[in-house]
Symmetry: C2
Subunit: 686 residues, 2 copies
């Protein structure tokens, strides 16, 4: 193969793209201004020596944390030097591409004090925190306990004599654990501990606890801190996830954050009623994750698409793209229908996730605007929605990244694909901010309430649950079938949405019926947890419905030149195909749900599969353009096989040369191990 | 939580198990003798200092290869000292638990010479190889090429003048790549290269090529060797996967392995016809992988089951196992139905894989016995079967391991679960020995031939394809429906098998029809690769059918006290439930395939789901016993959270203390990075 073949293949593929890539990029990122600002921030990071990624593949956790510390402090400096806002900061973290110890300072320590501290406490702690004169983290999880605040074992006992709290890790399992920023960096923590006064347990409250001296960073007596060690897949390896045990450790009474609950000098506890304001920050964290999944899965598909365009293997006599120009070579792997049918739906998912990221963030901002004027009407729906979408989107984000890696065959198992690092960064999101299975109970509970509303005051059902009205007349509902008659009917958005609505309504009512009937069987009473499998099913079904709906709406909006994200007709043409593929492939992947009650006929199942294949084939000439449009620069991709120029083999070769083993002609261990083995039975001469 | 709670929970769970664990272990491993020998070999490794795993979480690839060299030479010594056979050697590798550079010496270098060398060549190379006086590897894959031998770019050109071959990496992409054992250890390689005589290309042939001097391990002039660097997820990190380029490198003519093709002194090439004997070794490698998946997935479920038994989170008022004895504590996570419904089917899969591993190996041995007496009748079926099962079993093995890790929640992301290492060891099996997608074409091709046989000489259809006879009368077939009327009908093995047979027959005939019709559309002619999605579907469907069948047969056989693997009635009782769960859960996971042609009715779908839940619930008291029966000692599991005693939190704590960062009270980087940041705006005093 000639040295330019890789690059030629990618260039040739680009020449076939039917739409303007810049136009598509602007659609995805919400306009040219955003695109330029994102590029500017990424370049800012890309030129800093401390943020280079060349040796990441060799850093063990111990060395990586040292790097993470250095990167953290430089990040803090840049933030101050450039006075970056939150959006820029998140782009900076995207470019840095590994969670750093300092992330919890800005992302948790400061927000918790701001939301739970009194005005005086905010005035005391926030200015030094903003200037990084103190560095903080957030300590909730314990060795034996996670999300269930009421069972935390760390205690804060009021000592009236000295007006102090005594913090204790009463048992071994009370040790704070997994706390990012704690193991090495932080001087302070906001700590969840159960509050005791005169032997009475008032439940979990938040305390600001100094950990390390501002003079020499040594831990204070009564505090034992350490790092919890390496993590799965080398993920989060620059993060100093730590543990902490407290032994009769005293802090002033004022270090309890008292915006809501208060304890007076006399030890009197007061707890004014207040709305579930902390839901807002949970919604934000989950909404941000959805946008992150768009950025992550699109990176994975970018790498896979480019590499599979230059990789050639075996011969496919009628391969569509290159047999004409390169008759002597093997077939480009991306030309195999099996590969296209695995890869292109993930490109479509990435586009759907971009749309969902924007819509979910708008929904969050709407909620916050409402809350600030005392309106909590939207809280339940937005919270349920962010939970359902977080669960579904992070699931497909992690699974899709690993699927992209597998698509890349043998070379896909090299560290230098960039995908293993990406997977390790994504996959814990399936667990944190609410385990993806447990979390689905939120949407299920919400829909059960909505069913009650539908039965009593149907006009009050919220827009995204309107499909529940379909299920009120069960006889009519059970007779409903899909309207597809001709293959092209599958391309009608209304027909796609009807299918998702029907499925959601059926699953929601089945769950509702099961819950209602649960108590009747006295011998085997059912509890909520007996229905959790069904909660998972309806929650993911709802999330898929919303993703399909938002993508359809986004493409419709883009046809209006005055909209926020307009796109040219050539782009719209491809976006429509992507939207169809996303909807129909999602149906195909969950086909049983659409057919087991007779909604789809056998013939419709067959024609659906054919339509998916046809849509996939229609995107063969667009794939490289579609991933170029994500606009991920090479610094961000950090992939030998997925770089913009397509020069995959050359870059893989160069990366291999950087393996330290290759500095020596004879490997370490030869004299000690290999030579004695070879000579054990005497010299062998050929 | 008290310090003994973890251990108490696991002990209490063990006390509820209904069967004798040793009896079950004997069933799984094929008798007490095998169980003892496996334990003996694992202990042999466990007591060797070089095989300890304590620091594995911190080894980067560079350090890991040095360790791999030391482990390799010790392995060679033990093999010689104890005169181990192949089975013991594979148990040794199971215990060592990481692929080592020397594995290719015994697993590829020696077998290739034995199968492709002449008697003289075997006599020359094998004795020194057996004594480790030379160390070898197998070099096929290149930077730009994989399985397609005819397109390899490495060339071996006959030089008549000197009676030599000149080996050349003619292009950059001809570099041998990914070759295990090459980067650091090997002195020799068997190399696939395209043979040229007088400018004529005779295709790929195998050559024994000396790489490094037996005196000082330096590479010979004309050979450039290196290590290709770290791999995804730190997998295979002790393996010295290497690259090699040859530049006018000369070797004697006799170094071509000439059992079949020969080249004479005069440069005359002869190639006597011979059967596809190399299929035998592919079948063996794939059969071994199926057994490995049983060992791997059972390890993952062991770790998850034990940890989830001691892990407690939230409250489930009617949790079944522990509310009676521990009313004040949170619920054991394993008592949540959602968790059971994710975990227990994987325990059932592990048992199915044990049965399949034995059956496939028997099938292989039967094939080899036949081949040695010149009978190649079984070759096509066994090859197709091993391909289909390899694809399916390694897919569920890798996916299941990661699912077990996720089941373990937050702590599941710690390196110390042992599951991340396991996943990284398993997941490349989805790609090597035949990519799991590409490989499914083998079974599809085989079934298409069997359909032709069924139509002409139905009595000649092989046993595992007998279901194809169902599809011969298409009218009758399309009217067939599932016979389940009552819930307990699902527990009839014949009904389960009928469902799988119906599905396989339908998918096979649909593929056959599509292939037959493919040529008719002149505007859009179809090629084989256009059908590869359907190949994947039918191949996995067939593999699932065989797994279900073999598990059912294995449990039936176990009821005969004179069988090879007898089991007591109490064990049989649980095995039957596992077999039902495995069959019905596999159906549920692929439900669309059973319902989209009307074979299942809507009511049957509902009752199937209920039956799966009921079977899962029936195993709640057995789970810990079922994983204990796999008999994986703690050394093998290498898991803080899955050890036999259940002391998860204590072990996790101890492991964390071994993090090198914890040796210093103040972290590296404080003076250089943290202090300047904290002091940038002057001292802050609280």
């Amino acid at each position: 193969m000639t040295e330019s073949q890789n690059k030629d293949d990618l260039a040739y593929a680009r020449s076939k793209v039917s739409f303007d890539i810049k136009d598509m990029t602007n659609y995805l990122h919400g306009g040219e201004g955003n695109v330029e600002q994102r590029r500017y921030i990424i370049d800012l990071i890309a030129k800093e020596p401390i943020f280079q990624k060349d040796d990441w593949g060799w850093l063990n956790h111990t060395d990586a944390v040292k790097r993470g510390i250095a990167m953290s402090t430089r990040l803090a400096e840049i933030k101050m030097e450039h006075e970056l806002n939150d959006l820029d900061l998140s782009t900076m973290m995207e470019a840095i591409d590994d969670p750093l110890p300092i992330v919890l300072h800005n992302g948790a320590f400061i927000p918790v004090i701001n939301s739970q501290g009194t005005d005086e406490q905010i005035e005391k702690w926030i200015p030094p925190a903003e200037k990084f004169q103190i560095l903080g983290c957030y300590a909730q999880t314990e060795l034996g306990h996670g999300s269930n605040l009421s069972k935390l074992e760390t205690t804060a006992t009021f000592i009236k004599e000295t007006d102090e709290w005594e913090i204790n890790s009463t048992t071994f399992t009370a040790s704070k654990w997994w706390i990012g920023g704690l193991g090495a960096l932080s001087t302070h923590a906001v700590v969840q501990a159960r509050l005791f006064i005169d032997g009475k347990d008032y439940g979990a409250h938040v305390f600001v606890i100094p950990l390390r001296s501002l003079d020499d960073h040594k831990t204070f007596p009564g505090v034992e801190i350490g790092d919890i060690g390496p993590k799965a897949y080398n993920g989060f390896n620059k993060m100093d996830n730590g543990f902490a045990r407290f032994n009769k450790y005293r802090i002033p009474r004022e270090n309890m954050l008292m915006r809501f609950s208060k304890v007076s000098r006399e030890g009197v506890y007061t707890n004014p009623p207040h709305a579930k304001l902390s839901y807002g920050s949970m919604v934000l964290l989950r909404s941000v994750l959805i946008k992150q999944m768009a950025l992550y899965l699109s990176r994975a598909t970018t790498i896979a698409t480019r590499y599979l365009t230059v990789r050639r293997q075996f011969n496919n006599p009628t391969s569509r793209n290159d047999a004409d120009v390169n008759p002597g070579l093997e077939t480009q792997v991306i030309n195999y229908p099996m590969v296209q049918n695995r890869l292109f739906p993930m490109i479509a998912q990435s586009y759907a996730l971009f749309a969902a990221g924007s819509c979910m963030m708008e929904m969050y901002l709407g909620l916050m605007a409402g809350l600030s004027s005392g309106n909590i009407d939207a809280l339940a729906e937005v919270h349920a929605m962010s939970s359902a979408l977080k669960s579904y989107c992070t699931t497909i984000g992690a699974a899709g990244t690993e699927e992209c890696r597998k698509l890349m065959g043998g070379h896909g198992f090299s560290y230098f694909t960039g995908l293993a690092h990406l997977f390790a960064a994504i996959v814990p999101s399936n667990t944190y901010e609410g385990d993806n299975y447990v979390l689905t109970q939120q949407m299920a509970r919400y829909l059960l309430k909505e069913i009650k509303t539908a039965r009593t005051t149907p006009e009050k059902v919220t827009p995204f649950s309107k499909y529940l009205l379909l299920g009120l007349d069960q006889t009519a509902f059970s007779r409903t079938t899909c309207a597809v008659a001709l293959p092209q009917d599958w391309l009608k958005p209304e027909i796609q949405l009807s299918a998702f609505e029907h499925r959601c309504a059926r699953l929601a009512f089945e769950l509702s019926d099961a819950v209602d009937q649960g108590g009747y069987d006295q011998a085997n009473p059912k509890t909520w947890s007996d229905h959790n499998i069904e909660c998972y099913r309806i929650s993911h079904a709802h999330a898929q419905y919303v993703l399909v709906l938002w993508f359809i709406q986004s493409v419709r909006d883009a046809q209006d030149p005055d909209s926020e994200r307009p796109a040219q007709p050539a782009s719209i043409n491809v976006l429509e195909r992507l939207s169809h593929l996303h909807a129909l492939h999602t149906i195909q992947t969950n086909l049983a749900d659409f057919v087991e009650d007779g909604y789809f006929s056998p013939a419709q199942c067959q024609s659906l599969r054919a339509q998916v294949k046809s849509l996939v084939a229609s995107l063969a000439d667009e794939a490289v353009g579609l991933v170029d449009a994500f606009d991920h620069p090479d610094f961000l991709l950090n992939s030998a096989l997925g770089a913009t120029d397509g020069d995959a083999y050359k870059r893989l070769w160069d990366k291999a040369q950087s393996e330290p083993l290759n500095r020596r002609e004879v490997c370490d261990g030869y004299e000690e191990y290999i030579r004695p083995l070879l000579k054990r039975h005497g010299d062998f001469k050929l």
